[in-house]
């Protein structure tokens, strides 16, 4: 039995072959010349994306894809029609294209950062086996990282939680976190700011950042959310997670091709 288990443990080593970012992140390949006049002002991958859309949807060959020509959903069209003029054009792919959305206020920014923190790091903080994160868990994590009221956050602050390699990976994000956590503009992002972020998320003030208030992955000790999903290669077959209870552990690898 143990030998059989050992053989099965080889499979996790294969997980290393799953490139950590969305299964595959090969950005390479030479860029062909743009094939349409409308894309000549664009370069590289941006031009290729626009060419793909024209080839797929520009049925009247006018160099733009109207909503009527675009056969997919509103969400995707909204992502592509960045300037909101009702058509997908080269201008939507030019550098700086966008709607210039109004910047959120300080409290909204704090809430946005808190949501992101919880999504990224919630799995390290949510350790009580119950859904959601309590203010006590949040405070304990802050104290464990040695963050006080005067802290200017650096990647080094996260080493106790993530290790040196994990903290190094965080370095590009810390600057962003610092700027948006410093809601009161006193040039630090310390314990008070992090607690304020929690309070901004805890909309009903019950001391728990619950899963309907903020995205938090299920933590160790929690009952795994059940599901029934179909096989990709045979939709007549499905798998229910709870069917494995009392039988065997299940590893779940969430991801996508892109």
């Amino acid at each position: 039995m143990i030998a059989a288990h050992s053989r099965r443990v080889v499979a996790p080593a294969l997980l290393v072959a799953l490139v950590g970012c969305q299964f595959t992140r090969d950005h390479g390949g030479p860029a062909p010349s743009p094939i349409s006049p409308s894309s000549r002002t664009l370069e590289g991958a941006t031009a290729r994306r626009f060419d793909f859309l024209l080839e797929s949807y520009d049925s009247d060959r006018d160099g733009a894809v109207s909503r009527a020509e675009y056969r997919r959903d509103d969400r995707a069209f909204g992502n592509l029609d960045r300037d909101g003029d009702g058509a997908i054009t080269a201008a939507d792919f030019a550098r700086g294209a966008g709607r210039g959305d109004a910047r959120p206020d300080a409290e909204a920014k704090s809430r946005q950062v808190a949501r992101r923190i919880f999504d990224v790091y919630g799995c390290y903080v949510n350790t009580d086996g119950q859904p959601g994160i309590t203010r006590a868990e949040w405070t304990s994590a802050i104290d464990a990282l040695g963050i006080d009221d005067d802290t200017r956050l650096t990647a080094a602050n996260f080493e106790p939680l993530l290790g040196p390699d994990g903290a190094a990976k965080m370095a590009p994000m810390v600057g962003m976190m610092f700027r948006t956590l410093d809601v009161d503009g006193d040039d630090d992002a310390g314990k008070a700011d992090l607690l304020a972020a929690f309070d901004a998320v805890d909309a009903n003030d019950d001391g728990v950042a619950s899963t309907d208030e903020v995205p938090v992955p299920p933590g160790v000790g929690e009952v795994a959310p059940d599901f029934t999903l179909r096989h990709a290669d045979d939709p007549s077959r499905s798998v229910t997670l709870s069917s494995f209870r009392g039988d065997k552990p299940v590893a779940l690898i969430f991801g996508s091709y892109t």
Binding site: I2, S6, V9, A11, P12, A13, L14, L15, A17, L18, G20, Q22, F23, H27, G28, G29, A45, R49, F52, R72, D73, A76, F77, N79, C123, G129, L162, G166, K169, P215, P217, P218, G219, V220, E222, V223, A224, P225, F227, L229, H231, A232, D233, P235, V239, L241, S242, F244, R245, K248, P249, V250, A251, L252, I253, F254, G255, S256, Y257, T258
Partner: protein, 115 residues
């Protein structure tokens, strides 16, 4: 042990808010649009599994992203569910904190294997 890919919403579809292109192993550029129904998502999942030679079966999340939402799986994340149906490993959010080593250590622990 059972291993499953839970195939979820694309991270960098060409029509997403953060589009990227990539080449498959044959060097052909893939223009992946974000699937709008489960049939389409299953097709892209199949292409992914085939191209990367992934050894475990892929299950397709519903197009309302229900399982992705309950596990916060996007863009990629690892979990281990023990034989009692409880979370034994809750991985960090990908790409930076996607940690196969952490999952492997948890599997060894749950199976009672020595390092």
């Amino acid at each position: 042990m059972a291993f499953y890919i839970v195939y979820i919403r694309e991270a960098h579809a060409v029509d997403s808010s953060w589009p990227m292109l990539h080449d498959n192993k044959a060097g052909e550029t893939q223009f992946i649009e974000d699937p709008i129904d489960e049939i389409e998502r299953a097709k892209v999942a199949g292409a992914c599994v085939a191209d990367l030679g992934l050894p475990m079966p892929a299950l397709v999340d519903s197009i309302d992203d229900a399982v992705n939402s309950s596990y916060r799986g996007w863009p990629d994340r690892l979990f281990l569910i023990d034989a009692e149906g409880k979370v034994a490993y809750s991985g960090g959010r990908g790409p930076f904190f996607f940690a196969p080593d952490g999952l492997e250590q948890s599997i060894r622990r749950v199976l009672g294997l020595q390092d």
